[in-house]
Point group: C2
Chain length 445, copies 2
């Protein structure tokens, strides 16, 4: 059977679709650019009949190699499935194809006065399909939740080419099992998503952005707990440690104070009168923890602060191109304890560990600054990963808050998930994908 969908087997195309942001590489045999669910189904059936692995692929911005193809795999790119099909202002939801870029969708809605909260750091590149497959978060997850909380319906194609629709167009619905939330976060291992109905919100009336510099990390952690406990839910509560701040100021100077131990970037949104009240309370709490605080006076100052925050990842890559980046989460109250443990591990091993991330969620991006070219040090750094995971799990946490398991964490999943539960998950996988063709090697080893 000939494949009547746009595709290529040219080595230069295959090279482009063989890797992702994890830095790992695979060797696909074919890449296809379907333009409809029917075309996806055609490619799926083609691969199914030949027992070829199938790897759905958005923008390849994932950190755990979820889009790195198995050897000989067919890559299904969502590049040509990139339309916003419907925006319904009355029922506050939209239908999009999986290849739509998150940032483009945000802007399209913002132009009409609406707001789509999930905002992964890669929002100018990553696709909504990838966001659904990974259950992406972002700084605003603290107040607004993650991608899962916005997905109402999915259209998806099973490996044998059958097209399914899950979920409801309504605010509520309890008919049958929740296939929608089973597909969300399934990392392309159950079905290929071809259409997504996402709910959205009215744009908050106003936003206020504050920065608080702390003399020690623990004080920052305590301030986070106290802000939340006071009943205030900022839309973001981002954390950067001193190494992180120094790296950013070296990479893209914006005037952050570098002689401190930690900073919190705090953003409040809603009605102006409430923000004002909440901001005063937040400043009071931070100052009680001896922080030096600043309020962004205008949009320019606000953007400057966010530019610093978004520069963290490239700045750290510049220092250590081979760094290992994990995105662990602990219950918010255990944050100071976790950061203290990382400091100790770093001291003992002599390998710098740099931390930043979503402190309000207890979700920290841990960067182990080792270089792949220094083999011995890199091996030591990889050993640290397991120690970090163990500590996080001991504190009641999880080994991934946003990035998923993919290839890079597949070896660690049994540290967190029990044997029976993994057996159930493998059983669920078989229901959707009895031949095991969809994104093999991901999540489960």
């Amino acid at each position: 059977m000939a494949l009547r969908v746009e595709h290529s087997t040219e080595p230069e195309d295959l090279a482009c679709y063989g890797f992702d942001a994890s830095g790992l590489k695979g060797e696909p045999a074919l890449v296809a650019w379907p333009r409809s669910a029917d075309e996806v189904a055609q490619v799926m059936k083609y691969a199914y009949d030949k027992d070829l692995a199938i790897v759905p692929r958005g923008a390849g911005t994932g950190m755990t190699a979820g889009a790195v193809p198995a050897k000989g795999a067919v890559v299904l790119s969502t590049e040509k499935l990139n339309s916003i099909l419907e925006v319904d202002p009355e029922d506050l939801n939209a239908v999009v194809e999986p290849g739509v870029i998150n940032g483009k969708f945000q802007r399209e809605l913002a132009g009409r006065g609406y707001f789509y909260p999930p905002d992964p750091a890669s929002l100018e590149f990553c696709t909504l399909g990838g966001n659904v497959a990974e259950n992406a978060g972002g700084p605003r997850a603290l107040k607004y939740g993650v991608t899962r909380d916005y997905v109402m319906q999915l259209e998806a194609v099973l490996p044998d080419g059958r097209i399914i629709t899950t979920g409801v167009k309504t605010h509520k619905g309890v008919v049958g099992y929740d296939l929608t939330r089973l597909l969300v976060g399934s990392e392309g291992t159950l079905a290929m998503i071809t259409k997504i109905r996402l709910r959205f919100l009215p744009m908050p009336e106003d936003v206020s952005t504050l920065i608080a510099y702390f003399g020690d990390v623990e004080a920052a952690g305590r301030a986070v707990s106290e802000i939340i406990a006071s009943g205030i839910l900022p839309r973001t509560l981002e954390f950067m440690d001193s190494e992180c701040i120094k790296a950013v100021e070296k990479f893209r100077p914006t005037g952050l104070h570098t002689i401190i131990d930690a900073l919190l970037l705090i953003e409040l949104d809603g009605y102006p009168e409430v923000i004002e009240k909440e901001a005063q309370r937040v400043l009071e709490i931070c100052r009680n923890w001896r922080a030096k605080c600043e309020v962004a006076s205008d949009e320019e100052a606000r953007q400057k602060l966010w530019d610093s925050r978004r520069a963290v990842s490239p700045a750290l890559y510049r220092i250590s191109p081979g760094k290992i980046n994990e995105d662990v989460v602990v219950p918010r109250s255990r944050l100071p304890e976790m950061l203290a443990a990382f400091k100790k591990l770093s001291g003992e091993s002599g390998i710098p560990i740099v931390n930043f991330g979503h402190a309000g969620d207890g979700n920290i991006h841990v960067n182990i600054m080792a270089d792949r070219r220094d083999e011995e040090k890199y091996k030591k750094a990889q050993g640290l990963v397991k120690e970090i995971f163990r500590k996080v799990l001991d504190l009641g946490g999880t080994i991934s808050g946003e990035h998923g398991v993919g290839l890079t964490k597949a070896a660690y999943i049994n540290m967190e998930i029990g044997e029976t539960e993994i057996e159930l998950m493998r059983g669920l996988k078989r229901v959707f994908d009895p031949k095991g063709l969809l994104n093999p090697g991901k999540i489960f080893k």
Copy 2:
């Protein structure tokens, strides 16, 4: 093997556990009152070895016969699994056993300044385990979402007696498939829940309750759409039609105006200054639709309004003990159209249809006022159910927003869910329950 868990096979006990709020009856062979997950596992293994059906049971307040046991089944009551095990004010979550009454949990939290939003009408009787199994909602679901949005972790027992733990203790987590949300709303067909970690919120500072009387149903529907579109999210936006209002005033007079076509009971919560601002806007919108509005001036007036709302169900049962109650949902914007269609169906059939419910969600409780004793009329009424479902689905809706499928809607599930999707669901069921012992006949015929 003798069963070493408190249980009974006495006819008077079996009679008590043979029915639920749906009015349907079953014939269990044994009822057990386990006090721990281990005891649940013992009963499960006992039933598993003998190939007996197993029916988990909370308070039996479900409307779709989800707790009505199959003939010869073992009923697993959660009555003795009724402890609040942990309340963590720092990380804002609690661990409960499934038999804890929703209202008791609400009060326990309220006493400490916290708030658990899901509030099904039966909250003084229904259990949190039942709420999870049915993914219960309630009036506050409009602003705060449903039970699913509050479940962080579950402990559950598989039919073969293995105990599993799902989910995370943290705000985020993306390791493996989402077993938690697969169990939520699975109506006791996948596993028996034995422990639940629920997140909760700080208590809103203030609440304001308004009532708006409308001259016609359509105006009420339009007002609902306009309130939401204006960016205001009331915590409740409840609707009652004229028949409903009259029934309530007859059953428990509280001074509702009865010579109108519809009313909206609107509740706003949050900071006092915001509520004030939002209330003014809501009143303005309602008055533009020619509504007569009142604001509850104090807690007593507020409670009186809610007493009326909570009296709806008993009041309608008094008029028509055999009434058929469905809980359909349409996209909010289609509400006026749906209510007009029901009016037409009622006129054509000569059978009164009385409507109330969660207008803000598009979720309406449709009451077909027929009496089981009048066989011909009752048959006609049952015919109406299918027509109502067809109309709702044509409008992009779902046949159940809160009550689930259970036994009573199992015959209709394929009106909403496709063949392939049902096949997948049955496949998922087999992964958890290969012998098909758990709550047989529910969801799927």
